[in-house]
């Protein structure tokens, strides 16, 4: 089961997160690599202030200055894993350092 793991963060809280967070992330990435479950590298995203949202209606392209949804927790990054079942995905979500500061959404990829 291939899953995209979406990391959501309260951006203000993330800015104040302890520096140890990044050390934890290095260890987490190592653990994922060692488990051999990553099929595509993950990424951290720029904050939502860097987002632009585009919609086309008729022949007009509208560009919105900001993220798709104006919510407290914003998409902050993602990683991809291939695991046998939801319980395994939940275990990896719980290990992700961001689970302590925000939330991890598990989205199985649609079958090709």
């Amino acid at each position: 089961m291939r899953c995209m793991m979406l990391i959501h963060h309260d951006e203000a809280a993330l800015a104040k997160a302890p520096p140890s967070l990044w050390g934890d992330y290095a260890a987490f990435n190592e653990a994922i690599a060692k488990a051999g479950i990553s099929f595509q590298p993950g990424n951290r995203l720029q904050p939502s202030s860097a987002a632009s949202t585009v919609r086309v209606a008729g022949d007009k392209t509208a560009v919105l200055d900001g993220p798709y949804a104006d919510t407290k927790e914003q998409l902050a990054g993602y990683f991809m894993i291939d695991v046998p079942d939801l319980d395994q995905a939940i275990a990896w979500a719980a290990r992700c350092p961001s689970a302590r500061h925000g939330s991890i959404e598990i989205r199985p990829l649609a079958p090709a």
Binding site: M1, C3, P84, D85, L86, D87, A89, I90, I106, P108
Partner: protein, 439 residues
């Protein structure tokens, strides 16, 4: 009745075989809807035929043969609509494989129950889902039992089955370290089914309480080392043993203290006692074991005249520390009235008065009214019992409360009322799960 029992036994075996086959097929394909679809025609035929013609020698083989022969086309048509051609082919392969040696099909019903009670599934849908997958109850039957419109129940079941398939919820018994927490969810779902069935008194089909006990027996049989599972089964059996005594012949509500113990089911009580003993010998007690122990103490009191009220209060103390539930606190206070008098019980209830979860809870006002009446505080008792009457939905309970109100002294009387009057008749309030155990 002989034939009634034969019919029930045939139905039981049909449900048992159906549950095993669904669990087996779904565990392999993760597609509960398709597994049920593949077997539904055969299962319906079994429910019709077996009570008349007798149970076939190999029930599983019978179901598989009919599923392949008669139901195959219909199932295929429906299955293509619901889950696509690829899955239908897979399901057909699994059916063939199972049919080649139906006796060797492993019992995966426990794994199915753990999938149905997975934390990723909406709590309210766990019990209906398990009842349908393991026992073959229809959406119509479940709708009636859970007071949901049939169409809505059907849609919710479809949604939750899709969710199991798409989110990758596993069909397995969790590892040891996860087991206690996850087993709690399974037991909670089964107990929720029992609590639903507790109020059914005239045996309309299907008896949800009976089905829940059946599921409890399956769990105990498959997980013999889980004391809480035994505790829960014991608790259900204690409650069930008293069912025949809970209403008088003319349908009136009979509180625990007035029940005719000759109408209690002694076999069920003996089974409950044995399960509880085994459970408490196995290790630390959880919520269900403590609640079962309270029921055991009530039985010892009513049957053997043992003075078990202090033990009951102590068990409620323990349960309260474990759950923090205001309903447990209420039951503890009612038991306290028997050891320390109504004044002490009312003092114990005072901190609960502000809890808004109890404000609309009929048993709280009934118990409070009974205690007030016993303490001679007639005016307040009248207020509380009137509120309880307004909140009651069961006609038998309403009649009971009305009678209690009529028994209150006419004039405002602040003198002590004699012990053992109105209040005692009301008995204790229900448990924290909403069951009126003491009724």
């Amino acid at each position: 009745m002989e034939t009634g029992e034969a019919r029930r036994a045939a139905e039981r075996i049909a449900r048992e075989s159906f549950g095993r086959l669904v669990a087996f097929l779904a565990a392999r394909t993760r597609d509960l809807a398709a597994a049920e679809d593949a077997l539904s025609e055969a299962f319906a035929a079994a429910l019709r035929q077996w009570p008349e013609s007798g149970v076939p020698e190999s029930p599983a083989a019978w179901l598989l043969t009919v599923a392949r022969r008669r139901g195959a086309d219909a199932a295929r048509r429906r299955a293509v609509e619901t889950c696509g051609a690829g899955r239908v082919a897979l399901m057909a392969e699994e059916l063939e494989a199972a049919a080649s040696s139906p006796e060797a099909i492993p019992d995966r019903r426990l794994a199915l129950m753990f999938a149905g009670a997975h934390p990723a599934i909406d709590r309210g849908m766990r019990a209906p889902l398990i009842l349908q997958a393991v026992l073959g109850l229809t959406a119509m039957e479940l709708a009636a039992a859970f007071l949901v419109p049939p169409k809505a129940m059907g849609q919710r079941l479809v949604r939750v089955k899709n969710r199991i398939r798409d989110t990758g919820i596993p069909f397995r018994v969790p590892d040891r370290e996860e087991l206690p927490e996850r087993l709690d969810a399974v037991l909670e779902a089964i107990y929720a089914a029992y609590a639903r069935g507790w109020h059914e008194l005239d045996g309309g089909a299907p008896r949800l309480a009976e089905e829940a006990i059946w599921l409890g027996q399956v769990v105990v049989g498959l997980l013999p080392d889980a004391p809480e599972a035994k505790g829960m089964l014991a608790l259900m059996l204690y409650a069930e043993a008293r069912r025949p005594a809970r209403r008088s012949d003319d349908g009136a509500f009979v509180p625990l203290e007035e029940q005719d113990v000759a109408r209690w089911d002694r076999d069920a009580l003996a089974a409950a006692e044995r399960l509880l003993r085994e459970a408490s010998a196995a290790g630390p007690s959880g919520r269900y074991q403590i609640e079962a122990a309270i029921q055991s103490a009530h039985v010892a009191r009513r049957l053997g005249g043992a003075a078990t009220w202090p033990a009951i209060v102590a068990l409620y103390d323990h349960l309260l520390a474990l759950t923090g539930s205001p309903v447990v606190a209420l039951n503890r206070a009612v038991a306290l009235a028997e050891t320390d008098g109504p004044g002490a019980a009312l003092a114990a209830l005072d901190p609960l008065a502000a809890d808004e979860r109890l404000a609309g809870y009929q048993p709280y006002w009934a118990a409070r009214g009974a205690l007030l009446a016993r303490a001679g505080r007639t005016t307040e008792a009248r207020e509380a019992l009137t509120l309880a009457l307004g909140l009651a939905d069961d006609p038998a309970v309403r009649a009971h409360l009305r009678a209690r109100l009529e028994m209150l002294p006419e004039a405002v009387d602040e003198s002590r009322s004699p012990e053992g009057g109105i209040a005692r008749r009301l008995g204790s309030a229900p448990q924290n799960n909403g069951l009126e155990h003491d009724a």
